[in-house]
Symmetry: C2
Subunit: 207 residues, 2 copies
DNA sequence: ACGCTATCGGAACACCCCGTCCGTTTAGCT
DNA sequence: AGCTAAACGGACGGGGTGTTCCGATAGCGT
């Protein structure tokens, strides 16, 4: 979906479009969705008007940027679904989706509070959630996932994971790993006690 | 701390001050710390200047508002500490703190820190965290809390709990209850499988 | 090489925010 | 009731945001 109608664009236009998307990706990943459009334009070394010609509104830009992240999300669920052991697939899905969200501060926001008109994003999300529900169903059938788990729990976990703020991407990954492990342990139907991933120092600014 | 120097204020001034604090409390609770000062003044039926005379900066207002919430937090930890069964005290502490945060969207932000000069808040927070650490130590000694639990995990849980967005306060409480239960289950050293609190429908805006 | 036109980008618009100034109101004491 | 100082609140400035206008630029077919 990155190369949709790009062939009908002039060479410099296409170049700018790609630089804008790249800049928006990193900006959203680092600072969340609240980055100013000007800031994105500045990073892409482009005027604000150019940005707005390629993406008529901020929402359009966000939608375009996160379409591929959503695809990555779906791929992760699919891989979990492909695992012969549904419980292991379920666990890996949760871990990897949490890590994906942890590495991109904007993605959780884009995922959860879909914009009024980001229909493609919402549709993709529903598809991914449907598959996740099937995976959960199988994991329950296997007796490893607690039967009272519901799909909304997964959304809750994603929202919660998005609330964790860290200083570096590395810390974000580590925190999300530990967080996911804690939750997976809580979701287990017949528990054992594997060790948690290492603890993470969380930034309490102005301590 | 609500009535510190209020006696030296003129009657209307004191009245306004209290209305401002009340308005700020509910506004912060409902919408988080990002409410406009003007909005708070409007809710308190007061001009912006009046608001700024009583609280020279937004940060001062936030600090004053959340001092009592912080006290409530400390009280919760103390009650947990007072429980003869440290594990039960630990669990109740987590549940109640999560609920407290769920009912006040701004509190998590104010707690996690945020402000450069909210010294009292930070100090109170450190005290509460220290007590929580002691409670965790006892719960570990009792063999019920997994030994690799660390204090940062508690902060992580609070941050995560703050990421959960709901539509109504009732839903927020229900969600935080379920969330806390899931995590407590994950923190248990020797697990059993109690049923989770009821599931919560989470708002995925637009569909 | 030329010119047509798609594309660019700085400046500008409308809006909202925080925090302040100053003329008006009002509490409270005599 | 009258006076004075304390308190009020509408209007202001500076800065930020998303978005648009229009003159300048530069790709590309001829």
């Amino acid at each position: 979906m990155t190369s949709r109608l790009t062939h009908s664009l002039r060479s410099d236009a296409q170049d700018n479009r790609e630089r804008i998307l790249a800049a928006a990706r990193t900006a959203f990943a680092e600072q969340g969705l609240d980055v100013a459009m000007r800031e994105i334009a500045r990073r892409a070394e482009v005027g604000p008007a150019t940005l707005y010609r390629h993406f008529p509104t901020k929402e359009a830009l966000v939608t375009d940027v996160f379409t591929e992240q959503m695809a990555a999300c779906t791929a992760i669920v699919d891989e979990g679904l492909a695992d012969p052991d549904p419980w292991r697939g379920f666990c890996r899905m949760i871990e990897r989706v949490c890590e994906l969200h942890a590495l991109d501060r904007g993605f959780t926001a884009a995922f959860v509070s879909a914009f009024p008109s980001a229909i493609d994003l919402a549709a993709d999300r529903e598809r991914a959630l449907g598959k996740a529900a099937e995976l959960a169903r199988r994991a329950k059938a296997g007796g490893k996932l607690r039967p009272d788990f519901v799909l909304d729990d997964l959304i809750m976990v994603l929202m919660a994971n998005g609330g964790i703020r860290t200083t570096s991407p590395a810390a974000a990954v580590a925190a999300s790993r530990r967080f996911a492990a804690l939750l997976i342990q809580g979701m287990r139907a017949e528990p054992a006690i594997p060790p948690l991933p290492p603890a993470v120092r969380l930034p309490l600014a102005a301590l």
